[in-house]
């Protein structure tokens, strides 16, 4: 007799409204905790926390008002972090993704202090996430960062376990 197929777990989802600086920290720490529950290991969950933090910081800085949506997609177990906001679109994505730049180009090193950021946020998102999508909508924009359940591991990580 064949074993009963496992019921795929229902899609799980959490939303965090983002407006103030404190919302960034709430979203980041809660999302990290949830991601552990969704099956990410400690290190990967910490990376997801940083991604949420960077995206949410950007919402507070440029997006006016928005939300972070964390979703576990069954049955494969991918996790997405969606950052939606109603702010203006990113002028030049290519430039904005470059470390040390905002969407208008390189940031003057003299202005880094007091700017509240290094201009490396989107770069960090791209480094930690398995895939990043950017979409402009009728009102605002959405950045989606994907975390796949089994990421290709570095030999060092394999050695450690």
């Amino acid at each position: 007799m064949l074993p009963e197929p496992l019921e795929p777990p229902a899609m799980r989802r959490a939303e965090f409204p983002i407006r103030l600086r404190v919302d960034v920290v709430v979203a980041s720490s809660q999302a990290g905790r949830l991601a552990r529950g969704y099956g990410l290991d400690r290190k990967r969950a910490a990376e997801l926390s940083i991604v949420v933090s960077e995206l949410a910081s950007n919402i507070v800085k440029h997006g006016v008002l928005g939300e972070i949506v964390l979703t576990l997609h069954s049955p494969r177990g991918e996790i997405t972090v969606e950052a939606r906001d109603v702010g203006p679109p990113i002028r030049d994505l290519e430039v904005a993704m470059t470390d040390g730049c905002d969407d208008q180009g390189p940031i003057d090193p003299a202005l880094i202090l007091g700017r509240g950021g290094l201009g490396t946020g989107l770069g960090a998102v791209a480094r930690f996430a398995d895939r990043v999508e950017y979409r402009e909508e009728r009102e605002g924009k959405t950045i989606t960062a994907w975390f796949l359940p089994q990421r290709r591991r570095s030999p060092a990580a394999a050695f450690r376990d």
Binding site: V26, S29, S53, L118, A124
Partner: protein
């Protein structure tokens, strides 16, 4: 119906039954059905006065009961709201604890910056700013940045941390980074940052011990100078 007899009132059992039924409705909070039954009779006699009295009594009871239920529902809503607020406050307090990076003067001239939680590019920039300003304000000679509580850091953020340590040196103080975990150590060597001029120690304790050892020599020298200048009291 005979209404002349002053000691007896004759009532058809149907009317009596109807009043009993009405009151049983009232006993289970069906006030509308109760009132409807009580007001059905059109006769005007002594018994109808009793019915009228019941109507007043029951309608007041009904109103009081409705008022009570409204108040209870309102109270419940307030309680729920309060609970939600408390939950939010709890979450925010946890968040604030993680967000705030206190700078503690652990010893005269020694600042300690324990970093916990998530460090993103914005927070790392803010920390640098606060640390550099505090070093100048407190005329500190040493700053210990303890990152024991940090699991993961982006390469650029890690790079910025090392730059912060250099900036501290430029201000004439020494910067020690303590509690670097294996993951971050890999990140730092991976991006090939230049670590010259940045002292790293295993723990906050090691960093403090180092400072004490170094100042001890200074203190011994000072004592020697003082001893030469005056006779010590016994």
């Amino acid at each position: 119906m005979d209404q002349t007899d002053s000691t007896h009132v004759k009532v058809t059992s149907q009317r009596l039954q109807s009043v009993i039924e009405a009151l049983s409705y009232a006993s289970v909070d069906e006030f509308d059905s109760c009132l409807e039954l009580l007001q059905r009779s059109t006769e005007k006699d002594e018994f109808s006065e009793l019915e009228t009295a019941f109507v007043i009594f029951v309608s007041e009871l009904g109103a009081a009961k409705a008022e009570l239920n409204r108040a209870l529902a309102q109270q419940e809503a307030i309680n729920r709201e309060l609970e939600a607020k408390l939950e939010t406050i709890e979450m925010q307090q946890a968040a604030i604890r993680e967000l705030s990076t206190p700078i503690i003067e652990v010893w005269a001239g020694v600042l300690c910056l324990p970093v916990v939680g998530v460090v993103d590019s914005q927070r790392s920039a803010e920390m640098t700013e606060t640390l550099l300003e505090t070093i100048v304000a407190k005329q500190a000679r040493m700053a210990i940045v303890d990152i024991t509580g940090i699991d993961v850091m982006d390469t650029k953020t890690a790079d910025h941390f090392i730059k912060m340590a250099r900036a501290v040196r430029l201000l004439g103080a020494e910067c020690i980074v303590s509690g670097i975990n294996p993951g971050i150590a890999q990140t730092l060597t991976h991006i090939g940052v230049d670590l010259t001029g940045v002292r790293t120690l295993r723990s906050l304790r090691d960093a403090l011990q180092l400072y004490l050892r170094e100042t001890e020599q200074l203190v011994v020298q000072q004592h020697a100078t003082i001893a030469r200048s005056k006779v010590p009291e016994v």
